[in-house]
């Protein structure tokens, strides 16, 4: 780690020196590669400083949400025309099925959004929808990994970890990258989704749970009385400070002493940020905090806003828990898209719309990015026997929709198109690498320059791919 370049990119918040010290002993080998990529040229113009990702576990049907396909209604009940048998997960291809929701043009922008998201639809003018996403995997976990890390297998750092690595922290007593799983459970792939991979451990996503131990080991258990705890800290400090007298130049030791100071700060700041009781009632209502259906989503969206107000760089909110289950607890409408998507959407529609509105009214949306992603879309044809229109849809990685909102984007537009029936991305196709390159660009990071050496390769979030989607930029 080169101190000079590091200091250039931690201007805010945390005493740069302290963090520099923490970093200086990360022997990431990298003075000759990993971090030397960082200089002023990496962040010519930083449009956003922080991001919230609403990460849908499973596949949200784009033809039922953001990708209006009138032709699909006309072709309802027909067989899909294709030279080759479509590649889907379960290999049982039913007849085409029209959307189960009505689409309407929304707000001034006239974006098409279906009735599945009535609250979000009212924020249409703030959304930048990409309707031409495509992915390489039709299996849940690899597809979820792809959306987070650009790679289909375990072991690669996710977007949040890369942002932490690239930009450092603005808060000295909160983690850089916070993960808020759905209370329905942990998504498929579990902690591998927010793993730091081969990046240093500090870039790992930190799960904040509700309750007392929001972070593991934040406080000792009840067996340790407060005064004994205070004594232990004093003694730790004494032992370390004495060593420092003999070794004033020991950077590692400085870092350790500092880490205990920051730990103490965290014990105050984490409970403070999680205390939603300070929020006024109109805010609670805006997010839907007191409604049983929306309370979990509302709590996490509101917490996300509070976290980013305090300098957290990246917050990942999962929508959907483990795969399968009865009823399914993620966006996975194999049996019935209506039942499944209604259940899932009503848990997050109001909270996410509330979050957008709240960020906007506070002026935060100007330099914040909100990402709304899914593993893949769903097929325009139903899943089931080939002579029927069944109620469910299978995985469709060939075409699907996501949206972004916030700084540096053109709001109220839809970019890219799928084919007539919404099966495959057809125009202005966008891959996850392109998506990630664009997000990094909005943060002022050149996706080709942010690298970390691991086992023979200077790894990037975008592997060897990635084109910035310039057409959606402001």
């Amino acid at each position: 780690m080169q101190r000079r370049t590091f200091l250039e990119w931690t201007r805010h918040g945390l005493g740069a020196t302290a963090l520099a010290t923490l970093l200086s002993e990360d022997r990431s080998l990298a003075s000759n590669n990993a971090s030397s990529a960082f200089g002023s040229q990496v962040r010519p113009r930083q449009r956003v400083k922080r991001a919230i990702q609403i990460c849908l576990v499973g596949g949200m049907s784009h033809v039922d949400t953001f990708d209006y396909k009138p032709a699909l209604s006309k072709l309802h009940g027909r067989a899909v025309r294709s030279e080759k048998k479509p590649e889907v997960f379960f290999d049982s291809i039913g007849l085409l099925r029209e959307s189960d929701w009505t689409f309407r043009k929304r707000c001034q922008s006239g974006l098409w959004i279906s009735d599945l998201f009535p609250h979000l639809a009212r924020m249409a003018d703030d959304l930048t929808v990409i309707r031409s996403m495509h992915s390489d995997s039709a299996s849940h976990t690899p597809a979820l990994f792809l959306s987070n890390s650009g790679f289909a297998s375990n072991g690669f750092p996710s977007l949040g970890s890369w942002l932490s690595y690239g930009l450092g922290n603005e808060a000295d007593s909160l983690p850089t990258y916070v993960v808020l799983p759905d209370n329905q459970g942990t998504p498929n792939g579990g902690a591998s989704n927010w793993s730091t991979g081969f990046l240093p451990a500090r870039h790992q996503g930190v799960v904040l749970k509700s309750g007392n131990q929001t972070v593991p080991d934040l406080f000792p258990d009840k067996s340790v009385p407060k005064d004994a705890d205070a004594f232990t800290r004093r003694l730790i400090d004494l032992i370390n400070q004495q060593q420092l007298v003999d070794n004033p130049q020991d950077k590692q030791l400085h870092a350790r002493i500092r880490s205990y100071e920051l730990a103490a700060k965290m014990q105050t700041s984490i409970p403070e940020v999680g205390n939603l009781s300070q929020e006024p009632s109109y805010i609670r209502k805006l997010y839907g905090l007191d409604d049983d259906t929306t309370s979990d989503g509302a709590r996490r969206c509101l917490l996300a806003r509070r976290l980013l107000e305090r300098g957290v760089r990246f917050i990942q909110i999962f929508s959907g828990g483990p795969l399968q289950g009865k009823p399914r607890t993620s966006w996975d409408g194999h049996e019935s898209t209506i039942r499944n998507h209604t259940n899932q959407a009503q848990r997050i529609d109001r909270p996410v719309a509330g979050l957008l509105q709240d960020l906007k009214q506070r002026g935060l949306l100007e330099d914040t990015l909100v990402l709304f992603t899914t593993e893949f879309g769903r097929t325009p044809f139903s899943q089931g026997s080939q002579d029927r229109v069944s109620p469910g849809r299978d995985h469709n990685p060939k075409g699907f929709s996501v949206w972004m909102a916030g700084g540096g984007l053109q709001p109220g537009i839809a970019y890219g198109e799928t084919d007539e029936i919404g099966w495959k991305a057809a125009q202005n196709k966008v891959s996850w690498h392109d998506f990630h390159a664009t997000v990094l660009h909005l943060f002022g990071i050149d996706h080709e320059k942010m690298t970390f050496y691991h086992n023979g390769i200077k790894r990037r979030l975008t592997n060897v791919h990635g084109q910035i989607v310039r057409e959606i930029l402001a």
Binding site: H140, T141, A152, N154, G190, L238, G456
Partner: protein, 720 residues
């Protein structure tokens, strides 16, 4: 800068040779000229020009790897005009020292280049093989790590006395002297004992051992101590962990289903035992590649677990393409692990295109694939000692004929290739002499012989560098899994080769290499910072001191257990579970729990280690998730790490056990208790102020509050 005089004799000579009308791309030059080009000119171009000016990366649209494109020129037009040779831009840019930038051609190179231009660009192989020579962008056949081992002369040094007991020291001292650095004096005996204990067995010494050595710190006593540690079964547990990091050993499949592998532990046990038995390294490697064929009993089957220790996607889509794609992904994972582990090469990068940085072709990648194409994941039943046992290992299938996948696509298949190796590695033949339909066993055994040949220079350099890395915190090459172009260059190339040759002469015994290293003066230096040396060499690349190191997550946990008198010495067998497996339909989650009981107090290497199972204490101390190989662990210091070491329930429980042990063994006197606790954990007595505060605290809060602080002391987690 070169000072080239335009009227120098050779130039006039060349001008005379320059003839006319050489614009045609199809000129025939004759076998001799072609041979000369391939042997002399092409390597020059490859070394000096093709890094920027070859096919895919042709800067300025100029591709110098093909004759036709040289004649055509680049984006800015023609560069070669035979009639006006001295005005040709190809010549002008080079002779003026503008190209190649920064390092213009040497005079003899320039001469060669000029003659070649003047002769009308006689050409041989077209395009030029980019592997011919190393240049600024990539490694060629002449890359250092691919060359045969050299047997370097022992270097001459000034301070003979420092280096005359162990020749290793002469190599280090030579570099130090040439850098104007002095070695550090030896560390004091208690520090040395602590260092070598953590290094060789991953556990702290008993105070008695420290005391004994401190009273008689003779070379003979040091030798005896080292031998005792190397003969301890704890050695295999410590160094086995290093190996398992490289072998990306984990006990679940990863990916979606993430099924547990309850029968994967025999591989872990085999590694520990093999290290304790000091198995020669070639046997150690061969058994892991093909143990199921070499020795189809328990040992061989367990050893072959290496091949399938990585992540495995068990839930592929139903379509044929997805199935075949999934299989190719598995094979890439395997080739990557094999080549990085044993050869320090990233052959996996050649799956879709020739390796961008090292001389490994896609054809060679598929030759390696052909050698392992029958390897699949599975369990096998063995009747061992009359009772059937199950282990997770290679289940060999009939190996198919393997075709090159053009650009990595499963739908664009090229030539069928036989099993074979990488030609760039010298002293071993990449040609296995096999037909494309050779049986699975033959292919894999040939691969094992090629990789693990004592003649294979990369095989030896890679392991010697790994072992050095673990002793010093940095390898002689700082990237243990990559001795290719993207990796580091060796700080002491002669030493690396010399050690490799000694290692081979010692029968490829790792313990002899450990002995050679830890008995050196280099290893026994003090770690204290010396300002004058720090200024010259901040990172201690030249080893003027011993670099202090933070202990790894597992060593931390094991040491806490040992000091608390709670370490359960049970070795081998299924791991203890500190996670709760929660299956949910197809998927498995591993939720961390904190189980209490002796059976959970075993060394951490015996922890059941599924992927994606987080453990706050281990994670914050940079314990990798084993999804990919971790040849070199990160070392970070974070507030979350501090919180875990202070507040983790395990740590608090052990602080209590530690205090109980101290009281049990040292009696009622609080001062004695405090001093004894310091000795046990830190190998030294407390200072006056430490003792004063600790005694007061013990009286007020109990000794466990003191013990908890000791676990958190910097001195506890650092080996110096």
């Amino acid at each position: 800068m070169l000072a080239i005089s335009h009227n120098s004799v050779w130039l006039i000579f060349a001008m005379a040779v320059a003839n006319h009308a050489l614009q045609s791309a199809t000129v025939v030059f004759g076998a001799e000229a072609e041979e000369h080009f391939d042997r002399v000119v092409a390597p020059l171009l490859a070394r000096r020009c093709l890094g920027c000016h070859s096919q895919e990366t042709a800067k300025g649209g100029l591709d110098l790897s093909r004759r036709e494109s040289v004649l055509r020129g680049g984006d800015s037009g023609q560069i070669y005009m035979p009639a006006h040779l001295t005005e040709s831009r190809l010549w002008q840019r080079v002779v003026n020292g503008e190209m190649p930038p920064e390092q213009p051609l040497e005079e003899n190179e320039l001469m060669l280049f000029r003659k070649w231009l003047a002769a009308g660009l006689p050409w041989g192989s077209d395009p030029i093989n980019p592997f011919l020579a190393t240049n600024a962008q990539r490694a060629g056949y002449n890359w250092w790590s691919l060359q045969p081992l050299r047997d370097p002369k022992l270097p001459d040094v000034e301070q003979v006395a420092w280096s005359n007991s162990n020749d290793l020291d002469r190599f280090i001292l030579r570099k130090l002297e040439s850098q104007g650095l002095q070695p550090s004096p030896p560390a004091d005996p208690p520090t040395l004992v602590r260092r070598v204990y953590f290094d060789l067995i991953g556990l702290p010494p008993d105070p008695q051992v420290t005391e004994q050595f401190t009273t008689n710190p003779s070379p003979a006593a040091w030798q005896a101590l080292v031998d005792q540690l190397l003969n301890s079964p704890a050695y295999g547990e410590r160094w086995g962990r290093h190996w398992l990091d490289v072998a990306r050993f984990g006990e679940s499949d990863g990916f979606e289903e993430n099924q547990a592998r309850p029968h994967a532990w025999p591989y872990r046990d085999w590694v520990i035992q093999a290290l304790n038995d000091d198995l020669p390294y070639d046997t150690f490697a061969k058994m892991q590649i093909a143990g199921d064929l070499i020795d189809p009993g328990w040992d061989g089957m367990a050893a072959a677990g290496f091949m399938v220790a990585g992540i495995h996607n068990t839930l592929l889509g139903a379509s044929d393409t997805m199935q075949r794609q999934g299989r190719q992904d598995e094979l890439e994972e395997l080739i990557g692990t094999l080549s990085q582990t044993f050869l320090g090469l990233t052959a996996n990068c050649a799956r879709c295109h020739d390796h961008k940085f090292d001389p490994i072709s896609t054809r060679e990648y598929y030759q390696l694939v052909a050698a392992v194409a029958g390897v699949t994941h599975g369990t096998r039943e063995l009747a061992e000692n009359e009772s059937p046992s199950t282990l997770f290992t290679v289940v060999a299938q009939a190996a198919p004929a393997v075709q090159i996948h053009v650009r990595g696509s499963v739908n664009d298949l090229g030539d069928i290739v036989p099993a074979g190796g990488i030609a760039a590695i010298q002293d071993v033949s990449a040609n296995f002499g096999l037909a494309t339909d050779a049986p699975e066993a033959t292919r894999r055994l040939k691969l094992a012989d090629w990789i693990a040949s004592p003649q294979n220079p990369l095989f030896l350099r890679t392991i010697v560098n790994r072992i050095w890395h673990h002793h010093f915190g940095n390898g002689l090459v700082k990237t243990p899994n990559d001795l290719g172009f993207n990796g580091g260059v060796p700080s002491h190339p002669d030493l690396l080769d010399w050690l490799s040759i000694q290692f081979r002469n010692d029968g490829l015994r790792m313990k002899s290499l450990h002995r050679r290293i830890v008995t050196s003066n280099t290893y026994q230096q003090a770690s204290a910072l010396r300002p004058e040396a720090l200024q010259l060499d901040t990172d201690n690349d030249w080893l003027w001191r011993y670099s202090p190191r933070r202990i790894e997550a597992e060593v931390l946990r094991d040491s806490i257990l040992q000091i608390s008198g709670a370490l359960n010495p049970q070795r081998g067998g299924p791991g203890f579970m500190d996670v709760e497996k929660t299956p949910l339909n197809c998927c498995n989650y591993y939720i961390p729990i904190d189980p209490v009981g002796e059976q959970f107090n075993r060394r951490t290497i015996y922890r059941f280690s599924p992927r994606g199972a987080s453990n706050a204490l281990l994670d914050t101390f940079d314990c990798p998730d084993s999804a990919t190989a971790a040849p070199r662990r990160n070392v970070t210091t974070t507030p979350l790490q501090a919180l875990s070491l202070m507040n983790n329930a395990f740590v608090i429980r052990m602080a209590k056990q530690f205090s109980e042990r101290v009281i049990r063994e040292s009696g009622e006197n609080v001062g004695t208790q405090v001093r004894y606790a310091w000795m046990l954990a830190l190998g030294r007595l407390p200072s006056a102020s430490e003792e004063k505060l600790a005694i007061a605290g013990t009286r007020q809060h109990g000794l466990n509050a003191v013990c908890r602080a000791i676990f958190n002391a910097n001195a506890f987690v650092i080996i110096d």
